[in-house]
Amino acid sequence: MDFDAVKRLLAALERERVQYAIFGAVAMGVQGLARFTEDLDLFIAPSAVNVDRLKTALRSVVDDPEIDNITAADLLGDYPAVQYVPPDGSFQIDILTRLGEAFAFADLETERLPFDGLTVSVVTPRGLYAMKRNTVRLKDRADAQALKERFGIKDEGDR
């Protein structure tokens, strides 16, 4: 993933006032742990206005008619997970409006943190831990353990 391309995209999200929260490995990075990832995971508020803002932000950094295929009808309907890669393949964004029954945008615990000259919205360590701790993927479980150790997060039953 191209760091500068991701930074340009995050700046555009801020400029267009997209309601978003970074989660996944990039969120781990913003929180302080640099690890490999191929995608920028974005949870966005589920509204047609917000999807339009996201598309405007994307168009401001990438000239690609394919962006028209990101639609509110899909993201608010049967396809709450949409993946986009620009023509130059410099990054991949995974856009989410729902995460099963467990997480909705309004319930996310988020914070504003500095990121190389920007201020971005990111899920808190506790929120990331909650999202990752019971997933199947090994790397998510490793992230959950790293968050738990770094931020002293307690599970129910921990002493």
């Binding site: 993933m1 191209d2 760091f3 500068d4 991701v6 990075g29 913003v30 929180q31 302080g32 742990l33 640099a34 690890r35 490999f36 990832t37 191929e38 690609d64 394919e66 962006i67 295929n69 990101i70 899909d74 049967d78 396809y79 709450p80 997970a81 949409v82 993946q83 986009y84 890669v85 620009p86 023509p87 130059d88 393949g89 990054f91 991949q92 995974d94 989410l96 995460l99 099963g100 943190l113 500095p114 990121f115 190389d116 993927r137 790293a146 150790e149 770094r150």
Partner: protein, 60 residues
């Protein structure tokens, strides 16, 4: 990057984390992501793909 020495693996783990906003963190992220991109066997496929769940999306 200079050589760093540790008295235990646990000590190494704690140093992997940096504070949010630390300029060194941005440099580390840029380096790790760039390295990962160079190692990728094939380029990312451009376009929009739609999924019914995050599980379906991440399994691809």
């Amino acid at each position: 990057m200079p050589v760093r020495k540790f008295r235990s693996v646990e000590e190494m783990k704690t140093l992997a984390w940096r504070r949010p906003g630390d300029p060194e963190l941005a440099r580390a992220l840029a380096s790790v992501w760039s390295f990962g991109r160079r190692l990728r066997p094939s380029p990312l496929q451009p376009g929009v793909r739609k999924f019914k769940s995050i599980a379906e999306m991440k399994s691809r």
